[in-house]
Structures are given as C-alpha cells and as structure tokens.
Chain length 154, copies 2
Amino acid sequence: MPKIDLDAFAQLNSTGYPPPFDEPVAGRWQRRVGARLGLTALGASHVVLKSGAWSSQRHWHAGEDEFLVMLSGEAVLVENAGETLLRAGDCAAWPMGLRNGHHLVNRSEEDCAFLCFSAGDREAGGAYSDIDMIFTTEGYKHKDGTPYPTRRLR
Amino acid sequence: MPKIDLDAFAQLNSTGYPPPFDEPVAGRWQRRVGARLGLTALGASHVVLKSGAWSSQRHWHAGEDEFLVMLSGEAVLVENAGETLLRAGDCAAWPMGLRNGHHLVNRSEEDCAFLCFSAGDREAGGAYSDIDMIFTTEGYKHKDGTPYPTRRLR
C-alpha cells in the first residue's frame, strides 16, 4: 500500500446535522480515507473547506482523541479560549473528555484542506458548545435528551 | 489548546533496538507529541530523519493501525512490494495485522520530516521483515523466542 492517491477517494458533503445546523457545513467536503483503506482503530479523514464553510459545529468528544494537520490554505480555529489562525503545517490536538469545543472556520476566499485523525470510543458521544445539541449512540439530541429527527451518519 | 508549538517539544533519538539494529535509526529525531498533549488512544509523533537515517527497522504491527503524513523533504518508503518516493503532502497507511513491512529511508542530502499516527493495541506487538527480530510486551526477541538483552522503549 504505497502512497495514497487522495484523488481516487470520493468527496462527500453529507451530514446528519438537523437544520439549521447543517448549513455551515454544506461546503465541507470529506474523504473517509482511513475506513476505505481498512483502518479500524485509527480514524483518518481528508477535509476540504470551501470559502465560508465550517469543519463542524463547535464540539468536543467524551471518548475520542483528535489531531488535526493543516495541509493547504488557512482557517480559523475557534475554541473556548478564543481564535487561532492555522496555516499549512500547523497542528492542533484535543484529548478525549476535554470540554474545549473546537472547530475550523474558513474565512478566506480560497479552499483550505486538512487531515483529521481520531482514536478511542466513538460511542461515548459528546456535545456541541454553541447550540442545544449533543451526540450519542442513538443520534443527535437536545441537551434535555429530546431526540432530533435526523440520523447521525457513520 | 491552540496551535501546537513543535519547537517546544524535546527531540529524542533514543531507541531500544539491540545493536547493530540501532545504527540506522541514530539519525531519527522524534517528538512524542500525542502523549505529551494528553492523548491516550491516539499516538502522534513528529519525526525528523537526518540524511541517511531510517524511520525504524522495516516492521508491521499485529494490533495497531498507522498513518504517515510527509511534511517536508523526501524519503523512500520501502515495503514488501517495492519502493515509493514520498514528498511533502504525501500520505501512506497500514492497517493492523497486514504483514507488509514498511519503513522510510532518507536517501537525500537534506533532513525530512513527517508525522506518524497510530491507534489500536500496542501490546499485540509485531515483527521485523528483514532481520531476526519481533517485538512483544516483554521486549525484543529473536523469531525463535529468545530475548534480546535490550529493553523496548515506551
């Protein structure tokens, strides 16, 4: 399995987020690289954000570590403590359970691209920092436990 | 935890490989980024290979997925099926249990740098493809089970 040909992977902009939370990620184009290559413990996705797009709603994971590597372009990392501009070669990481909601926002005019890696217990779920939503094994719910009608994508 | 300042991490070229298998990795300088940042399920290391250095002896893992991202310079990826030149932005991955021994060799005159990610069961061990050595929870052994005298580093 030599060098990965990213162009051979489909780019998907699907999301299970209920409206209107799906709108900011409409310009997020993901390649599910790890699963397609047979990785089972290590999550690995290649993501392109069009101008204006978000990587996700700002979130944290109860049971998964995450590590992000910027490949090209630039995006603003938004966290509890504020904002950081990320450019090609910059990295950021979030240990599981740390309630530091994070996402990238592409405020530039150009596409940006990054790789995101994850490992741990995906079923442990997590929460979104700025909206009334959590994610669980059963899908998306309000913080009071009431389910949203959409299905969380795998 | 905004952008990671890689310069703040110590670079180590230690290895537990018994001689003479330690010699090719003497010019490998690693930063154990993930562990230092509190990641527990996701392994993440930044590695610089000096001219001539190897990333490791050619190996495979029984229980760990691996994913490599080249950041700068170039190196030759050696696998069972042959060699592939990797440059900045190139990626490669190896699912756990795939007995496709792999390593990088820096045959250029300049340093190269890459990030390597892993997840799964580190205790499951694995084997080296070109030498009489395996790695286990008890350390390095000959393929007949006889231990080597050195200690496997964590």
